[in-house]
């Protein structure tokens, strides 16, 4: 498969981001059933599955080049979006090794890594980067190793240290987030950073998820999907920039709702790292407008049912109340109520 990058698309101002037909069909639609409720929906991160977004350890798609540029813009405005506490230095190198080796193995026509002992050479063709450096020596790279490699990957990443039977978010590269802040959360324990999520605590979801993650083994990564909605294809919906994107929610009308409202899906992956025993948490963000998703009959019907029946506390937490009804009204005429197949697959081979 040859990827056609769209290097000039934007995630701000004129918002020229769009999905190609193939891009829509590989979208990791997050609803396997007509109803949505929080659960420990974690499964092994194995290659393959209902969407092509699961084919690689770290998915690279047509938005790669533009997304890396967007990340650089956010970091230039606010360098604190990337922070790693000092005791996580080994985890930085673990991350660099894992991402470089995975990209080189999964996309040999785009990335390569060659090693001569500790002297490594990394080639990133889409971004025109060639870098020789000494593994383990931070001053041989233009910036710290975690920042270096996560500037060249789609999605956000955090680093969790494991100690005293808990996980602590002790580092991260967070520029494409759904209204949470690394600057605020850094150093927090698992239950602290999940504190704001409604309903799931009462259901014991986080207690079970933490126990499971503490046993996560090297070589056996896991994944889950999470979702929310965003107005315009904007990657940076951070609390820091709320004044920039918050008002967007008041601009939705019945005429523009399908084009402006985007389903924002996070393909979350968790990898145990070898040297540091830390956990790398990848939060890969996918955006598709309601209009794009509506081209898949199963998805438009299911999205309608999920939004229609969504628990009020979840609507509120995800910030949907201002425009949820308009999305439902747009989708309702296309939902004949017929039963849909279980699972997230599109049930189409072409658009």
């Amino acid at each position: 498969m040859t990827l056609q990058f769209k290097p000039d698309e934007t995630f701000r101002k004129d918002f020229t981001y769009r999905n190609s037909d193939a891009g829509i069909l590989r979208f990791p639609f997050p609803f396997p059933e007509d109803e949505y409720m929080y659960s420990v929906n974690i499964e092994p991160h194995v290659r393959g599955g209902p969407t092509a977004a699961f084919q690689a350890a770290f998915d690279v798609d047509e938005h790669y080049v533009a997304e890396c540029r967007e990340r650089a813009l956010v970091l230039a405005e606010d360098p604190k979006r990337c922070q790693v506490l000092p005791h996580m230095e080994l985890a930085q190198w673990d991350t660099l090794e894992l991402i470089m080796e995975s990209l080189a193995a999964d996309y040999p026509d785009l990335f390569s890594l060659s090693k001569d002992g500790d002297l490594w050479t990394w080639v990133n063709k889409p971004l025109s980067i060639q870098q020789t450096f000494t593994f383990g020596k931070a001053d041989t790279l233009p910036c710290p190793p975690f920042e270096y490699i996560t500037r060249q990957a789609q999605g956000d990443f955090t680093l969790q240290d494991q100690r005293e039977d808990n996980l602590y978010v002790d580092g991260g590269m967070v520029t494409t987030q759904a209204d949470w802040s690394l600057e605020f959360d850094i150093g927090m324990s698992f239950h602290e950073w999940h504190g704001p999520v409604p309903l799931a605590h009462e259901k014991g979801v986080f207690d079970r998820a933490l126990k499971y993650l503490l046993r996560l083994q090297y070589g056996q990564p896991v994944r889950r999907l999470n979702w929310t909605m965003t107005i315009n294809p904007r990657l940076d919906t951070s609390p820091e920039n709320y004044p920039v994107w918050g008002p967007d929610r008041t601009t939705i009308t019945p005429e523009n709702v399908a084009e402006k409202v985007h389903l924002r899906v996070e393909l979350q992956t968790l990898f145990r790292l070898p040297r540091s025993n830390a956990i790398l948490f990848g939060i890969r963000c996918y955006l598709a407008s309601v209009a794009e998703l509506s081209r898949v009959p199963k998805w438009r019907k299911r999205l309608h049912r999920v939004l229609r029946d969504l628990h009020p506390a979840i609507q509120e937490y995800k910030g949907l109340p201002r425009y949820r009804q308009m999305v439902i009204d747009t989708l309702a005429p296309f939902d004949d109520g017929a039963p849909l197949s279980k699972g997230i697959q599109s049930d189409l081979t072409a658009l």
């Binding site: 420990v40 499964e43 500790d118 383990g136 100690r163 079970r208 046993r215 090297y218 896991v222």
Partner: protein, 318 residues
């Protein structure tokens, strides 16, 4: 968790270290690199002696930077279940064996200000992989190795490469003359202690440290994984009308899948609740985090992915 991926390795070198110790170097059987060995990790070796299959876990002693080979040190034990005797007597250079992916239940702690390592006998092995990293990173450490007098020379030789960076002491004079409490008492705040060796030694380290006021989170013992298998049993699937045999190192879920039954599952680690199935007969050994204490006590359901039968047979509504 799912069964870890398996790696095929060739025994590249067997080196006798002492009367009952041998070091084995294992290289990828089909070229390429092995996964980065985590400091403190162990691997499970699958050894085949005719029709007999033995599974033994050994700590990796090679450094994290070495991906061309894994090294393990194996002691020939008098009461061997077969694995160590097989490796000492029958394994040959060039033999190909299967190993599991490295599993680390004994990692170094990133926030430790100082690392205190206490090994007993062959318990030195995971500490050797810790030492590689501690020395390479210039971290503060202190190592005490207990052993029989006749083996002091072997352990001194193994530890010699790390001697300069920190304090390393080999105690070949017996436990009675080893001042464990004194060593633990004089450590600076922020020290973490790691111990591997005979159970009595590991317990002595833990109880002595606790008595001296060490927080539990700073005391680390090697513990090989306990939840990965158990005695074989049979599961009767009432709705499907078939009976499956669940092997020692296989989960009930894996056995059901191997029989061609499409069982519900998601996390495969006892957390999500997806694979909950009603139990019609038999007693369950619950290993999951999903069922409540009351549900576990009532014996009405089992999580296929991690739990097992306590007896010879279960009947499931599946």
């Amino acid at each position: 968790m799912t069964a870890a991926p398996t790696l095929s390795v060739r025994i590249r070198e067997i080196e006798p270290l002492g009367a009952s110790l041998k070091r084995f170097a294992l290289e990828p059987a089909h070229g390429g690199e092995l996964p980065t060995p985590a400091p403190g990790a162990h691997i499970l070796l699958t050894l085949r002696d005719g029709g007999r299959v033995m599974k033994n876990a050994y700590s990796l002693v090679s450094p994290a930077a070495a991906r061309d080979r894994y090294e393990i040190i194996v002691r020939r034990v008098a009461q061997s279940r077969g694995g160590s005797a097989f490796l000492h007597q029958q394994a040959r250079e060039g033999d190909v064996i299967d190993i599991g992916y490295p599993v680390n239940l004994f990692p170094l702690q990133a926030k430790a200000r100082k690392h205190l390592l206490i090994g007993g006998g062959i318990g030195i092995t995971p500490l050797l992989s810790h030492l590689h990293l501690l020395k390479a990173r210039g971290l503060k450490f202190e190592m005490h190795q207990l052993c029989a007098p006749e083996e002091a020379g072997v352990f001194e030789a193994l530890l010699a490469p790390y001697g300069e960076a920190g304090e390393i002491l080999v105690h070949g004079t017996g436990r009675a003359r080893f001042d464990l409490a004194g060593i633990l008492a004089r450590q600076p705040l922020g020290t973490h202690v790691y111990t591997c060796g005979p159970r009595t030694l590991m317990e002595a380290v833990a109880t002595t440290a606790s008595a001296l006021g060490w927080p539990a989170g700073k005391i680390h013992k090697e513990s090989f994984g306990e939840n990965s298998g158990g005695l074989p049993f049979k599961a009767m699937l009432a709705r499907s009308g078939i009976e499956v045999e669940v092997g020692e190192t296989q989960s009930l879920l894996e056995a059901v899948e191997a029989a061609g039954i499409d069982a519900p599952c998601l996390c495969r680690g006892g957390a999500c609740g997806e694979c909950k199935v009603s139990v019609l007969e038999g007693e369950v050994e619950h290993r999951d985090d999903f069922l409540s204490a009351e549900e576990k006590a009532s014996q009405g359901a089992i999580m296929l992915c991690v739990s097992r039968a306590r007896g010879a047979r279960l009947v499931l509504d599946l």
